[in-house]
Symmetry: C2
Subunit: 280 residues, 2 copies
Amino acid sequence: MQIIKTIKDMQTLSKKLRSEGKTIGFVPTMGALHKGHLSLVRRSKDDNDFTFVSIFVNPSQFGPKEDFMQYPKDLKGDLGKLSELNADIVFTPEDNEIYPEGFSATVNIGALDDRLCGITRPGHFNGVATVVAKLFNIIMPGRAYFGQKDFLQSVVIKKLVKELNFDTDIIVCPTVREPGGLAMSSRNIYLSREERKAAEVLFKALKHGEGLIRKGMDDLPHIKKEIAATIKSEPLAKIEYVEIVDSQSMEEMKKIRRPAVICLAVKIGTTRLIDNLTIA
Amino acid sequence: MQIIKTIKDMQTLSKKLRSEGKTIGFVPTMGALHKGHLSLVRRSKDDNDFTFVSIFVNPSQFGPKEDFMQYPKDLKGDLGKLSELNADIVFTPEDNEIYPEGFSATVNIGALDDRLCGITRPGHFNGVATVVAKLFNIIMPGRAYFGQKDFLQSVVIKKLVKELNFDTDIIVCPTVREPGGLAMSSRNIYLSREERKAAEVLFKALKHGEGLIRKGMDDLPHIKKEIAATIKSEPLAKIEYVEIVDSQSMEEMKKIRRPAVICLAVKIGTTRLIDNLTIA
């Protein structure tokens, strides 16, 4: 497993592999790797000749009051996990390699930056789109892998790829969950043991909503209310949003129609968690 | 010479050539090709295994009151000229191939969109950056060729490439001029015979400014006044701006220092022309 820190070395290697006709799979991460990330690496290993993983905590996708400074870091642990899976290349650039002094470009993804997390985290998805555009240009993967846990992010990335014509297939892999249903997230490390237990209410609420829809209920405000009630049954939980949207357009719906996705953002104590469930 | 109209066919071909280790040079144009464009094609032919030329009048870089609808088109003539030069591939997409319904992404290049033409043509350089980002992703050239006539555009493209990490070298080729000094431009076709003669005042004014600087004059407001006076000696000319800036940063200067570039935008009748001269 090779570790690369500069854009130049990364592009030289990527160009060499592509000129030899090799396929490249790419898993962009912010580190603090968990089983969700590792499932993406495994999938990429299956699909491609070479698997590249980036570890970069992207400052431009954090708001001024968010947890950029505290975001968990465990480079040594991450490299151990990736080495065990035989990832081929790990790209670990410094902040000023990605955002040198005077940097001012942004990729604005338009319509989606004002939906769901885009509302409560203004600029977040433009920060994501900008860094992913950069990473795609640096690595030029044939395929890139994202987790479904960040559902709207995967929609933003697909839109980025389609609209700016990146020649990269986006593959969204299923959310990996703890036995109690909690979606794997690097931020779960913030949770106390009590909060971690409380956080299981997100998946419980999603399943409750799914059950109602599968039973044929189509009264959207009522279903949202039911989901919210489940979450509120947990005293440590504070709802940021409960939304049910068209899983392709991310448009809100008047009545339930499929394919739909139930999206949640909930604070457990001071930790903001998101989760979602698609209903095809 | 092969003509390609879809992004998919273009990417398939480009990917094939790259996987065979071939080098690709790219000349993006809005058609109505003149000797300036053709000099870029010749240079690309010298430098690369394959030369791709795009012909696409990019709506997103025109303001609502600008000449998008009237912009000169001569596809048959263009293809004849390119075929004579043995260009390899011409990419001629329709508008909705590049900007399908619902398109909303933009590449915002930041700092430079408020300089010179960026002021009088708001959004222009973001439109340029967006379409060039798309074309680079579609064609993935190792080198791309631009004319110095659009000086700030070439600075914007270099910034785009640097900040979003496109793996493409930007090569800026000298402005090609008519015998009387008028810079070649597709928009020269708008000029009457009388206006075309009058338009020679732009180059005359640039040379006058250059002469003063080379003589050691460093009083910037005075030099700008001298340049403006030369232009005003031509009754058909109306100045939009006369600026002398650092040719690397595009920053304004208090006193002349080099490398500098004198940039002009002047209306001759109803036709807006730009020109510039670098002083190393």
